[in-house]
């Protein structure tokens, strides 16, 4: 019972706290660029404001246009139930759950692309087309990286992989881990639409990918999209943390253990946020046709990670 309660709490923390992470990244970027930056609670105010506004709908759209953001939110929020963050368990955990995670995220993206095309705007269509390309190419390295880690751990489920990693020595860097991490980190950038693949703060339609896709959305629909996007970023980062640096995660349900787990998790998220902010401030966005190359390299790394699992076992 207490495990279930802890799982619900950590799930709520992820889903409700996710917008904060985006604000944090924006804030660090502002500091780097010597700007004042916005309040950390600003995303919540934005969401509240959007939820209260009216939904603007293109003239020839079908009901799917408004259904798509809900589907995106539903699938992303379900995906959030699959990753352990503070505690060494998750709301939903079963053998092969990482495959489900990948495909549940794909479900939301599929409907979001349809919603974009339904708006009949040229920019939204362009965004959907580019997003379709990126996600199609990102799927293989994502699964290869996850499979490599799963094979190394000999486990088929995220929580068990995390537990296995925790039982290993901190310094025992295995080639599989290193290469799989490189692959998954590259995919994480592409999946969450961060630099250098996509620029989440761009204001020029032609350079947008994800932002162009949701160009026609407003009001509560936009709020759902923004929230889901924040949750997705946090889910992907939490997955990276869980698979490659889970140390500190609470093993048992004592208050001290949970507090330590929470502290470690938040610390790791802050570090990642700073890394992302520094990266985004120091590199330029890739040209659109360099993105396949970027993901191709990630695929090669993912494949190499899988090959290593077999080579290092002899």
């Amino acid at each position: 019972m207490t495990t279930a309660a802890a799982n619900v709490l950590q799930y709520l923390l992820l889903v409700l706290g996710a917008p904060l992470l985006r604000a944090l990244i924006a804030r660090v970027k502002a500091v780097i660029q010597r700007r004042q930056g916005t309040n950390l609670w600003r995303p919540y105010a934005d969401l509240l404001k959007l939820f209260r506004k009216e939904d603007l709908v293109p003239p020839d759209s079908s009901p799917l246009f408004r259904f798509a953001p809900m589907m995106l939110a539903a699938s992303t929020f379900v995906a959030a139930a699959l990753v352990p963050t503070v505690n060494q368990s998750a709301l939903l955990a079963f053998a092969g759950d990482f495959i489900v995670l990948v495909y549940v995220l794909a479900l939301g993206r599929f409907f979001m692309g349809l919603g974009a095309l339904d708006g009949s705007s040229s920019f939204a269509g362009m965004g959907a087309s580019r997003e379709a390309m990126i996600s199609a190419l990102a799927e293989a390295p994502l699964l290869l990286g996850l499979i490599a880690v799963a094979i190394l751990a000999g486990q088929g489920n995220i929580v068990e992989i995390v537990r296995w990693t925790l039982s290993q020595n901190f310094f025992d860097v295995s080639a599989v881990h290193a290469v799989a991490f490189a692959a998954l980190a590259m995919v994480a950038i592409a999946e969450t639409g961060r630099m250098p693949v996509d620029n989440p703060t761009t204001h020029l339609e032609l350079t947008m990918i994800h932002e162009a896709m949701v160009l026609e959305y407003s009001g509560p629909s936009l709020a759902l999209i923004e929230w889901a996007q924040a949750v997705k970023l946090t889910v992907v980062l939490s997955l990276l943390i869980g698979l490659f640096a889970p140390w500190g995660m609470a093993a048992n349900l004592t208050l001290a253990g949970l507090a330590l787990g929470l502290g470690a998790y938040l610390l790791k998220l802050v570090v990642l946020a700073i890394v992302i902010a520094v990266l985004e401030s120091s590199i330029a966005k890739l040209r659109m046709y360099m993105v396949p190359e970027f993901l191709g390299i990630a695929t090669a790394l993912g494949a190499l990670a899988v090959v290593f699992t077999a080579l290092l076992r002899r």
Partner: protein, 220 residues
């Protein structure tokens, strides 16, 4: 002291992985500066490996060699290369003759090949399989870098990578070569880099380009 022991054993254990990563980074790099940094990182891993060997076998000579590696390969040569890039004012890209995706795939294949190649010798030599594989992979990928890149500067780096591989192979199969040989090799290396740097200048001055393919014009 316990911490140092631990660090030494970890340096031995994780060297191969880190070397593979630098090799892949070199294969994927599209800028000169990235390649130079990757080479410096690679040399740093090598230096850690030398120092770890020195610590485990308690040999003063190896400490000295390790220091020399840091001085020359981690700091000296990368610095010189950076200056060279600056002075030459050449374009910053490395001029890969194939897509970086294929380059990374081929390098991954070379790593796989080196694992299968060393598999039979590991028992005889009584060395760890992945480090020996890393040495062979360094040699192979150094050769591959030389073939796949069109810039004279990149070929200097490729040669240095190749040399790193030979150095590593020698280190782990002999547990440290005699000091005098090492110093000789370093001397050669420095001379090599200097000479090639001079040549790079000459090539640039004559052809206003660092592209090696332009050398074809020298043909009678």
């Amino acid at each position: 002291m316990v911490l140092v022991d631990l660090a030494a054993s970890k340096a031995m254990g994780s060297a191969a992985v880190l070397l593979f990563l630098t090799v892949l980074m070199l294969a994927a790099a599209k800028r000169m500066s990235t390649s130079i940094v990757a080479f410096a990182l690679q040399s740093a891993v090598l230096a850690a490996q030398v120092l770890a060997v020195a610590h485990i076998h308690r040999s003063t000579e190896s400490y000295v060699i390790g220091g020399l590696v840091i001085l020359i390969k981690v700091l000296g040569i990368p610095y010189a290369l950076f200056r060279l890039v600056d002075k030459l004012q050449a374009p910053r890209d490395v001029k890969l003759s194939l897509s970086p995706v294929y380059s990374v795939f081929i390098t991954a294949g070379l790593i796989f090949l080196s694992f299968t190649a060393v598999h039979t010798y590991v028992q005889e030599l009584r060395v760890s399989e992945d480090v020996l594989a890393a040495a062979v992979a360094l040699i192979l990928s150094g050769a591959f870098l030389m073939v796949s890149h069109g810039k004279a500067l990149m070929q200097i780096i490729a040669l240095l990578v190749l040399e790193n591989g030979i150095f590593l192979a020698a280190l782990i199969t002999t547990f440290g070569m005699p000091m005098i040989i090492e110093i000789g090799v370093f001397f050669d290396l420095i001379m090599g880099v200097l000479l090639m740097g001079v040549f790079a200048f000459r090539i640039r001055d004559t052809f206003e380009h660092l592209d090696v393919s332009k050398l074809r014009r020298l043909r009678g």
